[in-house]
Amino acid sequence: MPEPIDDVSIGDDERLLHRVRPNDVVVDAATGQRRPSSATFKSKSNIISVDLASLTTPEKALANYPRHMLVEIDVGTVRSIGCKVVRDPLLPDNPAHALVYGSRPDGGMTRSQAREIVSHCKWVPAGDVR
């Protein structure tokens, strides 16, 4: 696949929203806090989908998935572990849609990148742990 180009028009302070199934929450061994499993940010055949928080709301992100929860992570952290962020608006329904590429040859995240990301995720209140 062509090398994805990190979109510098997306600032480091932008927040990325990602839905998480309630079943895929674990207790972190280091912090004792609940966080998504790293599997949430892994994919064999898909790049990881996110929404740019500045272009949507938590309510919109969860509109069709009321049973899911929502986490956020800032773009600067994602970039600091070697990932790239690319806009991928799905018009007209979701102009906030974007993709996160990892450093695997197929564009996916490595296990350590996925693990690093979930350790920095924060729960978004509208989709808080229930």
Binding site: R21, D24, V26, A29, A39, S43, H68, R111, R115
Partner: protein, 155 residues
Amino acid sequence: MSGLQSSISTSSSLGQMYHQTHGSYTSPQWSGVVSVGDLSQWQVEAIRKLLQLFTLPRDWDSYGSPPPSEVAIMAAVRLILRIDLEYFLSPLVVPVAGGGVQLEWRHGSREIEIEIDDDGSAGYLKSQHGKLIEEEEIYLADPARIRALLTWLIA
């Protein structure tokens, strides 16, 4: 749940037990039988969780992923069956987008994740206090390697 536990103690096969306790289970992908006669309780619990993955629909992750493949689920089941540790921790079982499965164990500050892709290939990540220690591919039919990996967790 109590019905499930009592079934495990009396049933000779987890596959049959699963059908008995989940009337709506109609997976077109798998209808086999896993013998549980000589298994430890943690293994029975792990396999039960793995077989439940057959009920996941397409788009289970809300991002359009297919459900875990039969190859991935059964590779995970075989992995569990090969572990000859009577007293161990039942792993968290998590689907991975694209058709994979992940098994996660944590004990104290130590964590192990084994990720099985839709084609049955696998890799693991070992961490302690949240810090990465090791990340490699792994051959699931290598019991000595798997045993060494898992006993690190409780050493």
